[in-house]
Amino acid sequence: MTDLQRTSLFGAHVAAGAKIVPFAGWEMPVEYKGVRAEHLAVRSTCGLFDVSHMGQIDVTGHGAREFLQSILTNDITRIGPGQAQYTLLSDDNGGVIDDLLAYALLDRFLLVVNASNIAPCVERVTSLAPDGVTVINRSPDVAMLALQGPTWARALTPIASPEPFSLPYMEATEATVAGVACLVARTGYTGEPGVEIMCPAEAAPAIWDALMTVAEAPVPAGLAARDTLRLEVGYPLYGNELGHDRSPISAGLKWACDLKHGGFPGAERMQREAAEGTSDRMVAIVLTEKGIPRGGCAVMADGQQVGTVTSGTFSPSLGVGAALAYVSPDHAHVGAKLSIDVRGKEKSAEVTSLPMVDTSPRKEHHS
């Protein structure tokens, strides 16, 4: 077993009473006071997550934009300096190496990738980079905090300059937070408004501590709440909904694939799947009786298996079992009556629309 890494906020987590678990090679806080309270705090006020385990890869040099356009699925020419874009790094068969956010900054492109995929992403991007384009893995030196929830700006304003709350969704700016020079981006993985704050690793505790002492301080929130929050809004998780075994199309990510221009690895398969359909599609399912679906559970209709759960949990917002699953197209419409085999017991269920919860901007409170 390899040694687990700790983020610069490990001490803060322990002090806050976190339960620590191994995750993607890191010792990370899975929960503090309890996943349900943390989840509901992010939906109603705001929560603070340590996501320093995620990866940051800089791509610089003449031709960096053209290079990234040739290896990422989305159209990166549509973002200018200070803008972020959800995109995917595809393999040669159209499978997914990772899903990520690409940022266009003044002096570089920044790829923020999943913790478990830092090495494959660095290897892929480096191996394809042409002369003149430099790829630097900055992950070990960069910490990232996610401040998420409708009152995020009230928590951040007292310690940030310039005030960041006029920043549009999916845009990033340089700002000083608790005296630390940061990149602040209006991004996140919860479905709620909020920001992700990137800073030098050693400076993260100062930001964490400052946020915890403002009047409307966020609730420390762990990886368990991060997972239930993203599931309720249907954000795919690499390794569950995404992997080398399927293209982004069946996951409903056609919007993040520039099929009109193509040219990236696997584009032909994605164009074909978008035109002809796929053998299954990702849907959101809620149980209509008590029970909790889990990854791997069979999805049934009329006694036949029609799909498989890829992520399942108890939805703290809805108070019912909820899942993301791949099902055959015949059963992928909202309202389709299904059942899920939960350890031998068939639980009645229904395909529901995404997001499963109200995350509309009107919930946001600025002042």
Partner: protein, 132 residues
């Protein structure tokens, strides 16, 4: 969440279940250690009244957001009551594991098997060994 306690009037099973004996009837539940390891309980799948339960075997499930845990019967018997309050409010298991968070009542089939269970000092020693 409750404070860590292990009442002296209970018998304990190594799978972190307790039994409170009252004549030929008994109440089953899970220990403070069990609920702490599981985290906030959000679902209880109980047996039905009239079901038989067997010592050392699962008679139901408790689930947290992240995990499923079989509930192991500390003794054999027939289910005579199920705590519906826990079905409706599963976090009772966290808040009061030895009181309002009880899981089932059974009519014991053989009281003698209780001798295989631990008393409070033995269970505490067992937990200390797990912490190793």
């Amino acid at each position: 969440m409750s404070d860590e306690t292990y009442p002296g009037d209970l018998h304990y099973h190594p799978e972190h279940d307790w039994v409170r004996v009252d004549g030929d009837e008994a109440t089953f539940g899970v220990t403070w250690f069990a609920q702490d390891a599981l985290g906030e309980v959000v679902y209880y799948d109980p047996p039905a009244v009239g079901d038989s339960v067997t010592a050392g075997q699962s008679y139901g499930e408790l689930e947290s957001v992240k995990a499923v845990s079989d509930i192991i019967a500390p003794a054999c018997g027939e289910v005579i009551a199920v705590n519906d309050a826990v079905s409706d409010t599963p976090e009772l298991v966290n808040n009061d594991p030895y009181g309002a968070g009880w899981l089932i009542k059974v009519r014991l089939s053989t009281a003698s098997e209780l001798g295989a269970l631990m008393d409070e000092p033995a269970y505490r020693q067992y937990l200390a060994g797990l912490a190793g």
